[in-house]
Symmetry: C2
DNA sequence: CCTAATCATTAGCGAAATCTTATGGATAGC
DNA sequence: GCTATCCATAAGATTTCGCTAATGATTAGG
């Protein structure tokens, strides 16, 4: 049932903010540290979680690491949500039909 | 930017399982307690989180409460993920075009 | 009424998550 | 080489989270 690690990873406000910052392209750890109210260490640790969840990619350039959004992990999240959405809708419609032909609360 | 409470709420495996059980219609707290390896108290507490996140609805019938999936909260999650996805794709394409007309790593 | 059933809520505890500080490794630049 | 920069990692403190146990409120049923 997809990779639920990604769902756990985005279940944190700081990491979501990080992803939002990354949404327009590559950024270094230092750039995120300048913007966010946590230390560089915290950023690196969050990046590891995002990386292991397949939500970000790293590209090493000299002594800095450029992080960017990985659509792979995001696809896992989408798959879960969309699949769930469809199932609920289907059940809802099925129930509506059933109660229409057999009215009772 | 939508309701991020829902994203926090689904960032937990037990709550995701609960939602999965609810996906085909209404269920009582007792029914979930029978299936899941936690106490009734834990179920009720998770339900509160899901309710406050707009992910479930409650319907009181006698002394029991029937919970069902609320598509509203789920729409928030979808909006966040889909919007994010589109932005990333747009930035990716934009960057691709830019580097194509001005080649440099 | 009296009891059982159903669920919410509170209090408290252990575990896990998040953060900071400290340190080390690697690269850049002089 | 030497130093500064950039980042990861380790260690430890603190906060948050998820859970259980206990209790109370409400309703159903004899």
């Amino acid at each position: 049932m997809a990779n639920e690690t990604a769902l756990d990873a985005i279940g944190n406000a700081t990491r979501r903010t990080m992803l939002t910052i990354l949404h327009d392209g590559e950024h270094t750890v230092g750039q995120l540290t300048d913007v966010l109210p946590v230390t560089q260490s915290a950023i690196s640790q969050h990046m590891r979680v995002l990386r292991e969840a397949g939500l970000v990619n790293v590209r090493e350039v000299g002594r800095r690491r450029l992080y960017s959004v990985d659509l792979g992990g995001l696809a896992d999240v989408r798959a879960w949500v969309d699949g769930f959405w469809d199932d609920v809708l289907a059940a809802y419609v099925s129930h509506a039909n059933q109660t229409a032909s057999n009215p009772e609360s």
